[in-house]
């Protein structure tokens, strides 16, 4: 890539072009001429025509939001979701705490403990959506693809807590088992050709 445009730091010159505007008139006669030309040039009527034309064409672009919705991109970063493993339906989250660490608005908090199977158990997990800036770092850093962004951007509720509870974020178990849980394609997702980049490790068995 050429870096020319970055190296040219003369902001006043680059990528700007001058509109051909005549200088302000200095003489009285000049001012009269300008007033006259502006008055009779008919630009005002062009404006009127343009909007009238659009009205006649009736080419309406409104999306009637609650009834109609625009499709959301696969990498859209809205309210978080917690994924489960396919088939088994076990939570993917291992409680490593990387999301808590990387969160730049400091809105993730989690509590972990040792469970009876000597595994790390996430006992509590919250995201303060009032603080979240939906940067997607948590999804990017997650080693298990557990925390992802979902497409649900309608987070109006009488309780913000409705969106911050771990159990609410978690994919319903039946969705995970039936395989309808959708993978997130955005930040942190497995890239195509990932297999080619993995190095093999010798195994003794």
């Amino acid at each position: 890539m050429s870096l020319e445009q970055f190296q040219d730091r003369n902001v006043a010159e680059q990528n700007y072009f001058h509109v051909d505007i005549p200088d302000y008139p200095t003489t009285g006669w000049g001012k009269v001429k300008r007033a006259a030309s502006r008055t009779f040039k008919g630009e005002l009527f062009v404006g009127l025509w343009v909007v009238f034309r659009e009205m006649i064409k009736f080419d309406i672009h409104t999306v009637q939001y609650p009834k109609e919705k625009l499709p959301v991109g696969p990498r859209y970063r809205a309210v978080h979701e917690m994924q489960r493993l396919f088939e088994s339906g076990t939570e993917r989250c291992i409680g490593c705490g990387l999301c808590e660490k990387i969160c730049i608005s400091n809105c993730i908090r989690m509590e972990t403990k040792l469970d009876e199977n000597s595994r790390k158990l996430v006992t509590d997990y919250t995201i303060n959506l009032g603080r979240c800036i939906f940067c997607g770092y948590c999804a990017e850093v997650c080693p298990e693809l557990a925390i992802v962004h979902g497409p649900r951007y309608e987070n109006v509720s009488d309780q913000r807590a409705h969106f911050t509870d771990f159990s609410d974020m978690l994919t319903p178990i039946d969705a995970a088992i039936s395989g309808t849980q959708k993978e997130f394609d955005g930040f942190g997702a497995v890239t195509p050709h990932e297999d080619e980049r993995v190095k093999t490790t010798p195994l003794a068995y």
């Binding site: 409680g95 705490g97 908090r109 972990t112 403990k113 003794a204 068995y205």
Partner: protein, 829 residues
């Protein structure tokens, strides 16, 4: 310790001292040499072999190669890089990829060095074995994560002295022999050793039998050894480190409280664990696990505060313990000046009296040495202290000097201590009767004093103990014999091993009996020293250069303590021994220097951390709450004569002593405003709290607070000491001491160490009195009687039991008249 030679590392000329390990020299000068298994202050283990350097063209291990003048060292060559890469690959073989949940959470040396060396592919493999994680009480061991660097076993043996863990056979398949040819030499050797060992308890039992210091978890470079309580509780990076000074004993160890919000709902900070700079300071279990003794939920209770002010106006006496900061002690001193309170603190008072008496002969305000000098010495004597519980750091120093400096030690104490006995065969315990500490000090003079200069009457008195006697001794001489042995030898022609018979000359020890005239020392008999004392001592004293003496609280509380203090001063003056006194509590030294203490109690007493007519308590059980030592900033004076700063780890919502002082007419915004004013006290400096550092440098230099100044005292020419009195404690004996992991009610307030106190006795004690663990026992002395539960303590031996002070429900101190031993009668209830 002077830097006297110059070596060159990677072209940089550095100064170091003869015999210093190259690794330490490099570290002191901020030159990075990777090392996993090495621990400063402990012996090199050569387990990791990654500290390879090239010294004068020869490949050596930086951790055990000593610097020589003019040495030229290169830290990296092509071969070394290949070795390092192979070593790190080997460490990564079969290491579980559970970094995401591992408790080390990134503070992992395996991770660091793997990245440092740049391991991005693996060339080696060996079948993995299933290794079950084990819980050893406060310590949790996951062998799957273990890289067998042996730091834990090294620190346990060389520093702590428990030697409770060691390497044990690993089991599983042997390495593929092809690797020997393929792999770099050191990497293969290191792997070969690694693949055969794991860490296990020294006695191969399921439970770890040690003093639970947890130092092994601190030194573990990976997440194999962790605190059971901390497991999966929090990620390391979430923790904020609060540099502090341990508040439990006089060692004043530097620690950092790791704090984080309590949970999702509660943003108040909570201490999750305690960490230490394990290369330079070792913690005991009380310091490591007894951290959450804060006075939680204290609020500004105005009624109680007003009651306190009224009480202060009414009172004429303030009684307190030494678990307070220097600043608080100074406030008490100022209150005494302003309002004429009597200050009562017996434990500090006896220490102060002892110091005063000592000063009269020594001409110094304070004892001359510190624990660092004990670490460096090679002959250590301890008198009058239950070393492992009075001051664990003194025990570590005792052990460290013996193991690292090929040293030896004498331990004078009435209670037999298997931990001390187990330190080394070069430690001799003399379990004398109580009250015989004086005799022990006379023995010190007799054995080590410069008799020429010693006052004549003392020399004469000492001579009176000596007589001659004939004894039969067995002597071992060496005799040469020739024997035939079968030796495995490599046949150079066939390349196979075969057995060959060879003749060998050998020196074999032979015992002969002999009758000799020896000196009979009556002092030894009085102390109950073992029969071979003289013989052993001779062996111990070979090639010894630096001598240290540690004296403990038994001396300060001794009925003849004034005489003992003079004897101690004489020992310091007329022998080569450097002297360390072990203050009983965290800030006993500071309190005794700052406060002018009284003996007589007045009519109305305010108690600070001690029950009185009006009680201020940091334990939360008094009339007005006070902050615990992890909730306030201030300084503590340690055994090393150092004024150490400690910071606020947890918030505190109530009133502090300074508020009371301000209400009574003093004027200081913060308690630490008094830090500067401490300068008026002899020995202290006029330094403000915020200027006090609290860290160690890479060379291990302690940059913490400041050292007390050496203050000369007018020496009295009178060096006379009283002769031994024939005093003894009759009947059964009870001792006032705490079990391992406990010091005060504060250690007991922490959730991991909380427990109920009782009468602690050995197996021998219990069988003598026909008691079983769990029995209720009435302990009766001349002073009083308490009922306690019998608890078996396998860390002591002999027939003396002890009562602890950490459990406030067990008012054990009331049973003692001052001296830590008392005659007692035990009845089972």
């Amino acid at each position: 310790m002077e830097n006297n030679i110059t070596i060159t590392i990677d072209g940089k000329e550095i100064q170091t001292r003869e015999g210093e390990f190259i690794l330490n020299a490099a570290r002191a000068n901020n030159i990075f040499i990777p090392a996993i298994c090495y621990l400063t202050r402990c012996s090199p283990t050569l387990a990791c072999r990654i500290c390879l350097v090239e010294a004068d063209g020869k490949q050596v291990y930086a951790c055990n190669a000593k610097a020589k003048d003019g040495m030229n060292i290169t830290t990296t060559t092509e071969n070394i890089e290949t070795e390092k890469r192979a070593i790190m690959e080997v460490y990564d073989v079969n290491h579980p990829l559970e970094c995401g949940v591992c408790d080390q959470s990134g503070e992992c040396e395996l991770q660091n060095y793997t990245l440092e060396v740049g391991v991005d592919s693996q060339s080696y493999s060996v079948p993995d074995t299933h290794k079950e994680a084990v819980d050893w009480g406060l310590i949790h061991y996951d062998p799957a994560l273990c890289i067998v660097c042996e730091r834990c076993t090294t620190v346990c043996k060389d520093m702590i002295g428990d030697a409770a863990i060691k390497t044990v056979p690993r089991g599983g398949d042997a390495l593929n022999t092809d690797y020997k040819a393929q792999m770099p030499k050191d990497a293969y050797a290191m792997w070969n050793k690694l693949n055969k060992s794991l860490i296990g308890t020294a006695d191969r039992s399921d439970m770890l039998d040690c003093t639970d210091c947890g130092e092994c978890t601190a030194v573990c470079p990976v997440g194999a050894l962790v605190s059971s309580d901390f497991q999966y509780a929090s990620n390391a990076w979430e923790q904020k480190q609060v540099p502090a000074t341990c508040a439990h004993c006089s060692a004043g160890c530097q620690i950092s409280y790791d704090v984080k919000h309590t949970d999702i709902e509660n943003s108040d900070e909570k201490i999750y664990r305690v960490k230490n700079e394990w290369n330079y300071v070792s913690l005991c279990g009380a310091g490591r696990y007894g951290y959450d003794f804060q006075n939680a939920d204290a609020v500004k209770d105005e009624t109680a505060f007003n009651a306190a002010i009224a009480a202060f106006k009414k009172a004429d006496t303030i009684a307190f313990t030494s678990s307070i900061t220097n600043e608080e002690a100074f406030i008490l001193r100022r209150l005494k000046e302003e309002r004429g309170y009597k200050l009562i603190n017996n434990e500090a008072k006896v220490f102060k009296t002892f110091l005063d008496d000592y000063s009269k002969i020594s001409g110094q305000q304070l004892y001359g040495a510190d624990l660092k000098m004990v670490h460096a010495s090679d002959f250590v004597v301890s008198i009058g202290s239950a070393l492992k519980t009075d001051n664990p750091n003194a025990r570590f120093a005792f052990n460290n000097s013996i193991t690292m400096n090929k040293g030896a030690g004498l331990y004078f104490h009435p209670i037999k201590d298997p931990v001390i006995d187990g330190l080394s065969k070069n430690v001799m315990s003399i379990n004398h009767a109580p009250l015989q500490e004086e005799t022990a000090l006379y023995l010190m003079l007799d054995l080590f004093a410069d008799k020429e200069n010693l006052p004549k009457d003392i020399t004469k008195y000492l001579d009176s103990f000596h007589s001659k006697k004939m004894i039969t001794i067995e002597e071992t001489i060496k005799e040469e014999i020739i024997e035939k042995v079968m030796v495995k030898q490599l046949n150079k022609e066939t390349g196979e091993e075969e057995e060959v018979e060879v003749e060998k000359k050998k020196m074999v020890p032979k015992k002969v009996s002999k009758e000799v005239e020896v000196d009979d020392n009556a002092l030894l008999a009085q102390l109950g020293a073992p029969a071979d004392f003289d013989e052993k001592l001779q062996k111990f004293l070979k090639k010894k250069e630096k001598f240290s003496l540690m004296v403990g609280p038994d001396l300060y509380t001794h009925p003849n303590s004034r005489n003992l203090a003079r004897l101690v001063a004489l020992v310091e003056k007329y022998t080569q021994f450097e002297l360390v006194m072990i203050p009983a509590l965290a800030n006993t030294l500071g309190v005794s220097l700052i406060c002018d203490l009284d003996e007589e109690v007045g009519e109305y007493t305010i108690g600070y951390n001690t029950k009185a007519d009006f009680t201020l308590s940091a334990l939360g059980d008094g009339d007005l709450d006070m902050p615990a030592l992890n909730q306030q900033e201030g300084t503590l004076t340690s055994i090393n004569k150092r004024v150490n700063p400690t910071n606020v780890a947890l918030s505190y919502g109530g009133y502090v002593l300074n508020d009371i002082a301000n209400a009574l007419g003093l004027d200081a915004k913060y308690t630490i405003d008094y830090t500067k004013e401490l300068g008026v006290v002899k020995g202290f400096s006029r330094e403000s709290f915020d200027d006090l550092p609290n860290h160690y440098t890479n060379s291990g230099e302690e940059v913490r607070g400041y050292l007390l100044k050496r203050i000369g005292i007018r020496r009295s020419s009178n060096e006379s000491v009283n002769e031994l009195e024939d005093i003894a404690i009759q009947s059964d004996i009870v001792y006032l001491a705490n079990p391992v992991l406990q010091f005060t009610a504060f250690t007991n307030a922490s959730h991991q160490l909380h427990g109920e106190g009782g009468l602690y006795g050995s197996e021998a004690f219990m069988s003598k009195h026909a008691l079983n663990a769990g029995d209720k026992v009435n302990v009766k002395t001349a002073q009083g009687e308490v009922r306690a539960v019998m608890i078996h303590d396998n860390k002591i031996d002999g027939e003396i039991a002890y009562l602890p002070t950490f459990d406030v429900n067990l008012n054990s101190e009331a049973l003692f008249s001052g001296y830590r031993f008392s005659s007692a009668s035990y009845t089972k209830v």
